[in-house]
Symmetry: C2
Subunit: 388 residues, 2 copies
């Protein structure tokens, strides 16, 4: 019996940075997924290890389950799969030692915390059963598209699907989704994984990856929205690394230097997020046609990008995308922390494939990676493969 | 006796577009000039024409003064050089006919209104004396640097310097400036010329060109400021033509569509202009060093550019300049209407000439024209050449 789970990445449609200063932000799932498959070893396999394969990177890690038990059992034996719990600092240390043994290549050392999160979630939800877990992903890592959250959500989904805490229909063919209660549980587990990876995550990434759709958040409270508007975006990964903490701090410093101006800017962003969420939630048969809504969203994205630029979080690579798409009259904005990372470009329904191809080839010639994704689709799903 | 006058162009340092919606804007003179020389023909010349030579364009227009008298005298005989007066619509028609005769090349037809302004100012201030007027300019035409105002100011200065309304020291060697009363008078005449060229000019361009320095304006009132900060800018002319009226209208339309967001944006611009004028007026021996002031101004320019982008008046060519200068950590903003036109880049005092050369050569390779100018220097000046 093998279970596969897939969970989407996310983008910030509006409000990044300003949300730290009280503005509303809007995030949405994207139709690019991280998939996790889980298969327990049978006795006949004669393999008592837990294996983690990261297919895209051709990496495999494996531990005898006995060694995991030695490292973790003292901390998690009282934990049930139905009560998501933080990994204590001491346990994280002993898990860290297990991860270190695996000699992760220096260039991929950023994966270490993800592997730690894996060991914590696995051992809490499934104990110490030998198994092979395979991870593949359409999401570029560390580029602000929520790859780590998608990993934690897909992993939690696969683990819970084969646990006693969740009842799922194993006979259904193809992808199926979870019930509300199950989603809440796996979202909480995924958040525990995110904490191991990021320290103090906002919880937005795992929530979007779990429930899909669109979410608005302001002053720490999240509201799921029903999107009535299928949107398609070009996501350009500038591959420019950036330091999110430093960017957040630089906006705060600018706010101290130019208090009034920045506060007006944050208020403008708040208005934009409110308008945007209004358009997304407005009924299909409302006043505006799809193309009118798209035009409106493009304009709001352009406005938000200008405001992000005035906060100082743009970057030459982002300007390059901006300038390139502007030539085709397409609106772009950075998504996430800025200073590089990914840029969104709205692809209106009426846009010809030829234009899309031209834009992509021009952007790729700058060394960027281009992805096309639907916005605001479903969240995490699972599928079972009963074949031997 | 020949008189030469030169008058500077202008840039908008902050607040363009937002000023239409009640925000403060700041403009300043630049050390790029339009020069007008005026020499009356003597009887021995046996030349009873008025000649206008546009040296940079290798164009010369000329009219027998009798013909000008026929066209204008009915309208301006009651006008004295000390009372600046609008050109009546009927007179503008008969002047227009004189201009049309000159067969201005189709590609330069935009000059026609400037030639009309010339004929009105000349005949009001100097009547119908045969003379040759030669115009040269360092300012690119129609690119938002106030070339038409600089022309009207330099022309008015030359004309008034040889009139009874103004008393000037003809013996002084080299450039000399006017007294306050003379400046007020020539500024008013220049404004009459600007009205012929632009219909409803704001009066800012001719005021900056007349008085030089820096000026702040809000809700229709202008305040001259004493600048204590010598600034140097790279001015990049994208050579991209644009329609100022259409751009102003598009911001107003966006304000109707997104009322709250745009109002916050205009308020942010107002804060930026206030901060900027505060820095410019702050004493030399104040708290901040010159380089700290420059850093502050660069940041405010970057913020203003982001806000202009969010108003929708940027352009791919402006983004190209932006992206290029950002690579060298230099702040840029469009100046004037946007949609092309000119872009300002602050050149800090400490910046090496090598970097400046690199930036310029990269911008020129994009087909742009680069000019370097001091900001906030003196206004209109005259000089006499008594040699035959």
């Amino acid at each position: 019996m093998e279970v596969r789970a897939r969970a989407p990445g996310k983008i910030i449609l509006s409000g990044e940075h300003a949300v730290v200063h009280g503005s509303m932000a809007v995030a949405a799932s994207i139709s690019l997924y991280t998939s996790v498959s889980l298969a327990f070893h049978s006795h006949s396999d004669n393999d008592d290890t837990l294996k983690l394969q990261l297919k895209d990177m051709a990496l495999e890690f494996s531990w005898p389950v006995g060694r995991i038990k030695e490292a973790v059992a003292g901390f998690n034996t009282a934990i049930s799969s139905s009560s998501p719990t933080s990994c204590p600092a001491e346990c994280l240390k002993s898990i860290g030692a297990l991860v270190e043994e695996q000699n992760i290549p220096e260039a991929k050392i950023g994966l270490a915390s993800g592997v730690s999160a894996f060991l914590w979630l696995y051992s809490c939800i499934q104990g110490f059963k030998p198994a092979t877990v395979v991870v593949t992903s359409e999401l570029p890592l560390g580029s602000g598209l929520g790859s780590s959250a998608a990993f934690c959500v897909a992993l939690s989904a696969a683990l819970l699907a084969l646990s006693d805490s969740v009842v799922v229909d194993m006979v259904h063919q193809g992808w199926s989704s979870f019930g509300e209660k199950e989603l809440d549980l796996l979202n909480k587990w995924a958040f525990q994984g995110e904490k191991i990876i990021h320290g103090k995550p906002s919880g937005i990434d795992n929530t979007v990856s779990t429930y899909g759709n669109t979410i608005k958040f302001k002053s720490g409270s999240l509201t799921l929205m029903k999107s009535n508007l299928p949107l398609r975006m070009l996501i350009t990964n500038t591959k420019e690394g950036r330091n999110t903490k430093a960017l957040v701090a630089s906006v705060s410093e600018r706010t101290i230097r130019h208090h009034d101006a920045l506060n007006f800017i944050f208020n403008a962003v708040d208005s934009i997020s409110k308008e945007l969420s209004g358009i997304i939630e407005s009924p299909v048969s409302g006043e505006l046609s799809i193309s009118e809504k798209e035009e409106n969203i493009a304009e709001l994205m352009e406005m938000n990008q200008g405001l992000l630029q005035s906060m100082g979080v743009s970057h030459a690579s982002i300007e390059t995308v901006q300038r390139t798409t502007l030539k085709y009259k397409l609106a772009s904005k950075l998504t996430g922390a800025g200073g590089g990372g990914c840029v969104l470009t709205l692809l209106p329904t009426s846009l010809s494939g030829t234009i899309v191809d031209m834009v992509i080839s021009e952007l790729e010639s700058c060394g960027f990676q281009c992805l096309i994704a639907g916005i605001g689709g479903g969240g995490v799903e699972i599928s079972f493969d009963a074949s031997p």
